[in-house]
């Protein structure tokens, strides 16, 4: 068996993620075991050699992401997968990948934290870490799948965004989605779009600037590239004190994401123009919205929702649109309020934002709990 063929599969979420990665062209995986992400490493260990790729278990998560960033400079599409504790350890290198414009994919299968927390139980506590986890001024692209199908398709998208924008992309999954099994459809392989990083022409020398997204050379191909996480000019030469070079570089790195929010942002929406009550939801929690909305409508409450497939950059315009029509917006999350604040900031008083939070034991927010909020609309 080589790369996966068109067909219908009954996959586990983690397996779908691994197959999505391989379909996207991933040929390097480095990781360190952690529940509930280990199956990705296990699946990659079995499958990557079959397609001529490399899968390796490293000594820790810092080494894993380090090897991934190194492999990316050697020309590979590369990925690592972890959960909260390992994601924390990876943060320094994620900043390095951002600063050096290294495409790579980091999967964080969230579990209940802080610390070791409830290692086998699902959660959504890493939403803010995925946005602000590394130090300094940076911007993140974060993907949020809510089904096994999306573990496949959105992992492919994560690679495409990483390659297109030359930046690390995070797939923020959760223990529920990662461990459940669902029918997954693999469309005709030719119909799946895969994007590859733009390579420089022989005479090109500016790999870190001038253009919004500069071309990326591969080491060993004669480009004599100087890569550094220190502030650098377009040729990769360190400028560790010059304010202009720093502003230019860090400004461009953030803008190349900010200026393309509309292209990056992906969501599903329903009835947002004429609803009284809105729901903003993502990940496993969003699996409760369809039933809750259906039941609310049966009771005559006009309800709409936005289900985010990308969390960051935050899709402000669509949230604003919802806030303009809805009186109240409910934000259900398996954490103690994280996206809530972002929705509140964006709505800016246009609608009342109501949190619905549940943590512990991996218990999901049920359609009934959501319906109760929709009906009484109180905090």
């Amino acid at each position: 068996m080589k790369t996966v063929k068109q067909g219908t599969y009954f996959w586990q979420g983690n397996e779908a993620c691994a197959e999505g990665a391989i379909t996207a062209g991933c040929r390097f995986f480095a990781g360190y075991p952690i529940t509930p992400a280990s199956e990705i490493a296990e699946h990659m260990a079995k499958r990557l050699p079959q397609v001529g790729g490399i899968a390796t278990q490293m000594e820790d998560e810092m080494a894993s992401i380090g090897a991934v960033v190194g492999a990316s400079w050697a020309g590979a599409k590369a990925m690592t997968a972890t959960s909260g504790p390992g994601f924390s350890l990876m943060q320094e290198f994620i900043g390095y990948a951002f600063m050096t414009e290294t495409p790579c994919v980091i999967v964080d299968v969230q579990r209940a934290g802080p610390s070791t927390g409830q290692a086998t139980k699902s959660g959504q506590g890493d939403v803010m870490q995925s946005r602000w986890g590394t130090h300094g001024d940076y911007s993140a692209i974060v993907i949020s799948p809510n089904s096994v199908q999306e573990m496949f398709t959105l992992t492919i998208r994560a690679f495409n965004l990483a390659e297109k924008y030359r930046t690390p992309v995070i797939v923020l999954a959760d223990g529920t989605i990662a461990h459940m099994r669902e029918q997954t459809i693999v469309p005709p392989i030719e119909s799946i779009e895969t994007i590859n990083r733009r390579k420089p022409k022989t005479e090109e020398k500016a790999f870190f600037g001038l253009e919004e997204i500069p071309p990326m050379p591969t080491v060993g191909e004669g480009f004599n590239v100087a890569v550094t996480g220190s502030t650098h000019n377009e040729h990769g030469i360190r400028f560790t004190a010059d304010p202009t070079v720093h502003r230019r570089l860090v400004g461009r790195l953030n803008n190349k994401i900010k200026n393309h929010v509309d292209e990056i942002a992906d969501f599903e929406s329903y009835n947002i123009d004429e609803c009284q009550i809105g729901i903003v939801s993502y990940g496993c929690t969003s699996r409760a919205i369809h039933e809750a909305v259906e039941n609310a409508e049966k009771r005559g409450i006009k309800t709409g929702y936005i289900r985010l497939k990308t969390l960051w950059p935050f899709p402000e315009s669509i949230i604003k649109k919802l806030a303009e029509s809805a009186e109240k917006i409910i934000v259900p999350e398996m954490n103690l309020r994280q996206m809530f604040y972002e929705v509140e900031r964006t709505a800016n008083g246009l609608a009342k934002i109501i949190p619905l939070n549940k943590i512990g034991g991996g218990e999901l927010i049920t359609p009934e709990e959501l319906l109760v909020k929709v009906e009484d609309g109180e905090e």
Binding site: R27, F28, A30, P49, Q50, G52, I54, T56, M58, E59, D60, M62, A63, S64, G66, A67, V68, V69, G70, A71, S72, W73, A74, G75, A76, A78, E92, F93, Y96, V219, G220, G222, F223, N224, V225, A226, V227, T228, G229, S230, G236, I237, R238
Partner: protein, 276 residues
């Protein structure tokens, strides 16, 4: 300085606009840079197929951006992990890591023993100046017992690592130690390490006249070099000496030179088997 006045090694191997080393006058790092370029020149290697990976610290600035090939300056402690990804992904590249004693033995110590255990085909050059140079003279895991530094103002309570013994025990193919005084031997060991299959580790005891120098009260680089020479002891002699006799001495020479299959070679074999 015009092109014609440049040292031939610099003219051939240095990046334009970065021909000067950023290190303090008299620093051992310049000597080590020159030895590396000499080894490459004498072996007539394809510089463009060499990738230099370094961490953070003065010693990590040896190749970056100075060497005019692919130079990847990474984060503190992690160049070996990064280099492992580069080498696994493209085994045809010759990968050399430059790291410091803090970078490679403190924050990156775990990666060092694991790179040796995996026996990945990388040459690692660890510059041991027994101090944190870049951050201003703090204690390192290689600082002598009792020594005062910026963070051991009453003297170092701990004992230094013997890094060559550590890396040998972890499984490296080739392990050697020299000082910046032993330039001929260093060049020849670098040549050996560059061609060796498996993980090669070269520890270079080096002088930091600025930070280490001020704590021992000797800032003259020439004097420091002579001290390195005088405290050195060939490994053949050291073998028959007691621990007390070896106190304060630097054991130099080859600790190990053995044939072990490297990781990328083993992986290649696995790929052939799986895909057959």
């Amino acid at each position: 300085m015009s092109e014609t006045q440049l040292h031939p090694l610099i003219a051939k191997y240095a990046r334009k606009g970065a021909q000067r080393q950023p290190h303090c006058a008299g620093c051992g790092n310049g000597i080590i840079a020159q030895c590396m370029l000499r080894a490459i020149e004498e072996l007539d290697l394809d510089f463009g197929k060499m990738v230099f990976v370094s961490g953070i610290g003065c010693s990590s600035w040896i190749p970056s951006p100075f060497f005019n090939t692919d130079v990847l300056h990474t984060i503190h402690g992690r160049p070996l992990a990064f280099a492992t990804g580069v080498k696994l992904s493209n085994p045809d590249l010759r990968v050399v890591v430059f790291t410091g004693d803090g970078d490679g033995a403190a924050i990156g110590g775990n990666h060092l023993i694991h790179a040796a255990r995996k026996n990945i085909e990388i040459l690692a050059i660890l510059i041991n100046n027994r101090i944190y140079g870049m951050t201003g003279g703090q204690v390192a895991p290689t600082t002598p017992h009792g020594m005062k530094t910026r963070t051991t103002p009453y003297g170092n309570l701990e004992y230094p690592f013997d890094l060559c013994k550590l890396v040998e025990a972890a499984g490296a193919s080739y392990v050697v130690r020299w000082t910046t005084f032993h330039v001929k031997q260093l060049v020849s060991s670098m040549k050996r390490g560059l061609l060796k299959e498996g993980f090669s580790f070269i520890e270079v005891m080096s002088q930091c006249p600025v930070q280490y120098g001020r704590f021992i009260g000797i800032r003259d680089p020439a004097k420091m070099l002579l001290m390195l020479r005088d405290s050195s002891l060939p490994i053949s002699k050291a073998k028959s000496m007691s621990e007390e006799e070896l106190e304060g001495r630097i054991v130099v020479g080859e600790f190990v030179d053995r044939e072990r299959v490297g990781l990328t070679k083993a992986y290649k074999k696995l790929l052939n088997e799986v895909q057959a």
